[in-house]
Symmetry: C2
Subunit: 457 residues, 2 copies
């Protein structure tokens, strides 16, 4: 497929050079908007040309799929008439998304060329906080009245349908625009023409509020297998709907954010290859610095036991193994709990169950690791390599530390994300790198404590 | 909301104890199936009772949402008639999902009580490999003929619609059941009654093959904003469709798997609180053991420089800082690349671009970390704490090692996942824990090399 992509790009460049525009247009027409947009990424300054070849509707679809950099480039190449034509074809929620990404002068130009009703809606939606249901909803839905017959409803859908983002679910409102029911297009089609909407509609409905978190809304759509969720204001008036395709984008973005945070980065909303070195640097350096500083405390611990280490130099060689194993155990526990929290499978109330489970897992994991390690120390390090300073006592210190480290790591790893969630922090930040630093320090303290006790250092 | 859940559970238990079944039924009726299923998790042996109170259709919806343990419990409590009733209400793809999770004796019972056509379809779908498009598709879609008029089509939808998983997209097939077009219910409703399907249908269509990877299919649904994707066999015959709600589940599962692999665990398909200690242990111990063994090589490196460390004991104290920083830098790079690969934003062909980018980021990150560290070493460790063995030379060794470690970590972190992808391995396995172990060894080698050269050990 990727070879095909490169071939396609070559072919497009060639057709442009040879000015075979009709041929190029015929080649693009059968393609999906998302695919054309992806090709545009590598066409640079030829994008406006390609764009003008497309029929209006397809052009608008491609426009929505482009990165904001290319959208900006295109808008600046548009005449006012062209801009107005593209805006006319866009759904409101897509326009709002675009406006949110553009610099102020471009926003002004877009608003100047939208029709007055559109401008009002854009301005209203821009007021909703980022990441709220209001900011991702569309106001183009089908609304019906309780008193309509199925025939009336179908007529209304036929009349207003072309401008709506979806007709698959229709919403029923009362005179005060309050949401009182919904019905699917399937229910409508399967009903008799003279059935009354109020009698066949679904009255048990789930709605979200404009200020609800978009992630929560997306997860609800996934959980209930809905195609859209109605969004109401505080007076239960229907103001918009969030459709499933937007929900998928939100879910993907939020997962990327979680993974970035879990790997000690500040989340970025641009694709990797589109971010500049400076932006990537800014996202990565804060945690690196913080974790570097905090890991020097681990160094302090080693320094303060310098004499013990000098007396039993063999202990130093096992520090990396202890630190790494602690880090790995901690990241297993924290990744599991963070993902469970974000899927809604684990709640803060489950703290005791989670801790008890991790204790049991830590006991068996710790015992297995310690046993494997003891065998390795005695058979390989001592007998095979003839390292006489590896006595059974030293091996016991190392293995006992390992058991304790595993226990600490699993406990810290499962408790910190839950606590973070409880006090309203993002649990994803309490992931591997952060926990590793804590567990490192704890495991070294245990190590030297055991060493002093057993080896009498 | 969680308080509400506990209250609800108490109320249900109370109504059951007092045998107020009608009241309980009225309480459950307005709830969503997914919510009732979630309550059932805590109702244990009362589930069959609650289940029998629900109307058939809602009962079937709840059944689909239950965990496989509870489904098995319920099935074993069903009479044959009850089992047949529930099976009648289920969509085919849900039945197949359930059958896949059940032990052999339950599967036999289910197949015995399905009607012959259903049994044939289940058996056919069970043949598709796990994780293939065939295994998640449903065969209950609306198929139309090219020669039908819109009126014929709507009639057909009204007649067959109740049994179809979705009517929002209809598929047009020829006499050989080959897929030739599709159209949305919106197109149908907005067309004239005597329009011919062949003239208004969309002919540019994207279909997937039965053996395509389910993750790829789910990502395509998200990318193209489709509500369903047609699944065809090798002869381009339409055999099923994958709907968006199943795609969301697949995406969520795959992300969980990625996160588990990135945290050095074998993926599990059960929610955390449902897995036994032994299962969790089995998922976690293999990587822990492997990484523990490999991190002892790092220990070997330290041992082999025992004399150098004895001569300049201060070097030991900075080993954790170097190892941690290397691990953090590596996990940043690898998490970014792994996520980019799984979103399709990065391809193997981008290797050079990715490497060049990481080199630049590594230079600035390394420089910043080294500068901060140098200041800290000289101002705090030497001047504030009066550690006279911290000479400018030692500080230089530490900071130079830091720069090299960051560079190695970023390079290893970005290259390994791309290589894994290239040779057909899962990139997610090449994540933080694995990379940390490699980077630890490299950074220690550099550390001691620098120390020997500069400090003449």
């Amino acid at each position: 497929m990727f070879e095909k992509r490169d071939e396609l790009l070559e072919k497009i460049e060639e057709l442009i050079t040879r000015k075979r525009y009709a041929e190029l247009r015929d080649m693009l027409l059968p393609m999906e908007a998302a695919d054309i947009a992806s090709l545009c990424e590598d066409l640079d300054d030829k994008v406006p040309l390609v764009f003008r070849l497309l029929p209006k509707e397809l052009a608008a679809e491609v426009f929505v799929e482009l990165d904001s950099d290319e959208q900006e480039l295109l808008i600046s190449s548009f005449s006012n008439t062209e801009l107005r034509e593209v805006l006319d074809e866009l759904y409101l929620d897509d326009t709002v998304d675009i406006v949110e990404e553009m610099p102020a002068n471009v926003v002004k130009r877009i608003l100047r060329h939208s029709d007055p009703e559109m401008r009002k809606s854009i301005n209203e939606m821009l007021k909703y906080p980022e990441d709220s249901a209001g900011s991702i909803m569309t106001t183009e839905f089908v609304d019906l009245k309780e008193t309509m017959t199925v025939e009336d409803a179908l007529k209304r859908i036929r009349r207003t349908g072309p401008d709506k983002e979806t007709i698959n679910i229709c919403y029923v409102i009362d005179e005060g625009r309050r949401l009182i029911g919904l019905l699917s297009i399937r229910t409508l089609l399967l009903a008799e023409e003279d059935d009354v909407i109020g009698e066949i509609m679904e009255r048990n409905l789930i709605a979200v509020q404009t200020l609800d978190d978009q992630e929560e809304v997306a997860r609800m759509l996934g959980k209930y297998d809905f195609l859209a969720l109605p969004v109401v204001d505080k007076e239960n008036r229907l103001v918009g709907i969030v459709t499933i395709d937007d929900a998928i984008d939100v879910l993907q973005e939020e997962v990327t954010e979680d993974i970035e945070k879990m790997a000690a980065m500040l989340p970025s909303d641009k694709p990797y290859l589109k971010t500049s070195t400076l932006e990537t640097y800014k996202a990565r350096i804060p945690w690196l610095l913080l974790l570097m500083i905090s890991s020097t405390f681990t160094g302090q611990i080693i320094s303060s036991f310098e004499n013990a280490l000098a007396a039993a130099a063999i202990l130093t060689a096992y520090i990396p193994m202890l630190m790494d194993s602690g880090g790995n155990c901690g990241s297993q526990a924290s990744a599991t709990v963070i993902r469970g929290l974000s899927l809604g499978e684990i709640r803060f109330n489950d703290l005791i169950r989670v801790v008890w489970k991790e204790i049991r897992v830590a006991v068996v994991c710790g015992a297995t690791l310690a046993a494997a390690n003891f065998l390795k120390l005695m058979l390989i390090d001592r007998m095979l390599f003839g390292n006489v300073s590896m006595t059974a006592q030293v091996a016991c210190v190392i293995c006992a530390t390992l058991v304790c480290t595993v226990m600490c790591a699993k406990l810290v790893g499962c408790i910190l994300p839950l606590l973070a969630k409880r006090i309203g922090f993002d649990p994803a930040v309490m992931a591997s790198p952060f926990i590793t630093t804590i567990v490192d320090a704890i495991s070294l303290l245990i190590y030297f404590r055991f060493a002093s006790a057993v080896l009498g250092l």
